[in-house]
């Protein structure tokens, strides 16, 4: 059988990486375009699935005054794009002992006083690849609504793009993390049933049964497994 060679010439676009022009196939993500151009990425890359937030990047388009921000693994290249590699977002996380702080706005402001410099410009919201209402969360923090901050930032990836763009220099993602921790530690409804079960385990309620299982041979375990009670379909 003759070998059939399919030659499809991919459509190429020009991108500029750190000022240098490269031809890359259209349809690649920014991350893949960087690798296609020969860069080996050891920082600023992670899950490649839009979840870890490691590949936050900024870019510009020709003839457009705007500085765009997005995740490099989720954004496809456009012709004439100016790309840069950002290893991470520098931002300071203030130290605190979660057991010693209160779930109030005062805690947020004491650790992150930059919050009070928010001028409601909404640049943070515009730069969020998760399309979160970032400024609304800053505002909720300012008025001490820790639960609201936690709710609004639940899907934050900590990519740091809002922090990079903020004229008030708020380290957003550290504030969000603190708010979610405060929420979890003090405000979320307690899972009483979980505490009850942990207590039962500690008191040895299941010890006898577990000891019996661990003393069985593999064969006996298989038999027991086959004979297990199965829910009727």
């Amino acid at each position: 059988m003759d070998e059939v060679q399919v030659k499809v010439k991919p459509e190429m676009v020009t991108v500029y990486i750190m000022g240098q022009a490269y031809q890359v196939p259209a349809g690649l993500t920014i991350l893949k375009a960087l690798e296609y151009a020969g860069f080996r990425l050891v920082r600023g890359v992670g899950c490649r699935g839009g979840f870890c937030g490691a590949c936050a990047t900024v870019y510009r388009l020709p003839g457009d005054y705007r500085l765009y921000a997005d995740l490099a693994c989720q954004t496809t290249v456009k012709d004439g794009m100016y790309l840069a590699i950002l290893p991470f977002t520098p931002a300071e996380r203030r130290p605190y002992d979660i057991r010693k702080v209160k779930p109030t706005g005062e805690t947020l402001l004491a650790l992150y006083p930059e919050l009070a410099r928010c001028v409601a410009c909404n640049t943070c919201t515009k730069s969020c690849p998760q399309r979160l209402e970032v400024m609304d969360a800053v505002q909720a923090a300012l008025r001490g609504d820790v639960a609201k901050v936690a709710e609004l930032t639940f899907d934050c990836l900590s990519c740091g793009l809002c922090t990079m763009r903020c004229p008030a220099e708020i380290p957003h993602y550290h504030v969000w993390q603190l708010a979610r921790r405060l929420y979890g530690a003090y405000l979320a409804p307690k899972a009483e049933h979980l505490h009850r079960r942990v207590r039962e385990i500690e008191e040895g309620k299941f010890k006898e049964e577990l000891d019996r299982l661990t003393s069985l041979t593999e064969e006996e375990l298989r038999e027991l497994y086959k004979a297990r009670e199965i829910e009727p379909e």
Binding site: C118, V119, A120, K126, M135, R143, G144, P167
Partner: protein, 295 residues
């Protein structure tokens, strides 16, 4: 009504207005340090038959009005709030905090200049354009001018008779005069309200003086001096309590008292309203001075 308080005449957008619906801007302090002001006022306005609705997705008013020449950025926050009013189909915004009133109202005035409005709309490309025409008003204007003293006094169920109350205006309700709720040198709007509520308003010379405001952070000594003068002036005039509309004034009047200053309690003007309308009890420290009053 002074000319500057009249609603702007040009407003072409469709507006759904219900006589009893009032859109209200709380501000950060009323959700945190000054919750009693909000609680009392909303209960009282409810008693008066108003449906007070919190402005959706409001942000900080801007806190301090910027005096920089190139201050477009400082107007973005306040104007964004005005856009929220527009989105809600209203043209009036009620404020309780004196500082929020000042900042929002001054920004509303600022964008009456077409060039300033154009620039701010161009910057806020993530929002619909602000069309202008939102009227920012403070609680005391709402009480004295929208409701009126007569209707107010008719709604009183627990007259504040025998209470000698001093209205402390401070700065942001009165200055600059273009946006003041009353004559900045001889204000009487709060006194008129107190009178309608059955109280005896006490005029004292320092009632329009500055409390020292944010110097409370860097120069508490300056604030202490000012607060001492204000409280002494109020005590000499015979005030049993002071009423304010500003959380920062209240903080300073309470927390920056020099030793030996007259022990005059400070309340929010909305609290006095709530007492008179019977939705809150008159505090014991004041109620006992009412005991001798013959009704």
């Amino acid at each position: 009504m002074p000319a500057e308080l009249r609603p702007a005449e040009s407003h072409t957008s469709p507006v759904t207005r219900h006589a009893s619906r009032v859109l209200y801007f709380p501000g950060c302090a009323l959700k945190d340090q000054a919750q009693e002001y909000e609680r009392a006022t909303l209960a009282a306005l409810g008693k008066l038959g108003y449906k007070v609705e919190e402005l959706p997705r409001w942000n900080c008013c801007g806190t301090v009005y910027s005096l920089a020449q190139d201050d477009l950025m400082r107007h973005v926050g306040p104007v964004r709030n005005l856009i929220r009013v527009q989105e809600a189909g209203e043209e009036k915004l009620l404020t309780l905090c004196a500082m929020c009133y000042n900042t929002l109202r001054r920004s509303a005035e600022f964008v009456k200049d077409p060039e300033s409005l154009r620039r701010i709309n161009a910057f806020m490309d993530d929002e619909e354009d602000y069309r202008g025409g939102v009227r920012v008003l403070h609680l005391v204007q709402f009480l004295a001018e929208e409701i009126g003293e007569e209707a107010l006094s008719q709604a009183v169920v627990q007259p504040l008779e025998g209470l000698r109350l001093g209205a402390y205006y401070g700065c942001t309700l009165l200055r600059p005069k273009e946006i003041g709720v009353d004559d900045p040198d001889r204000p009487e709007i709060m006194e008129r309200i107190l009178q309608a509520l059955g109280a005896e308003p006490v005029l004292f010379p320092e009632r329009m003086e500055c409390c020292g405001a944010y110097l409370t952070v860097t120069r508490p000594d300056v604030v202490r001096e000012r607060v001492g003068e204000i409280l002494l002036s109020a005590a000499k005039a015979g005030a049993q309590a002071l009423l304010t509309a500003c959380p920062l004034c209240k903080f300073n009047l309470e927390e920056r008292r020099p030793l030996g200053t007259p022990k005059i309690p400070v309340y929010y003007v909305g609290e006095a309203l709530a007492w008179a309308l019977g939705v809150q009890e008159i505090p014991e420290e004041l109620a006992k001075s009412q005991a001798g009053v013959i009704r």
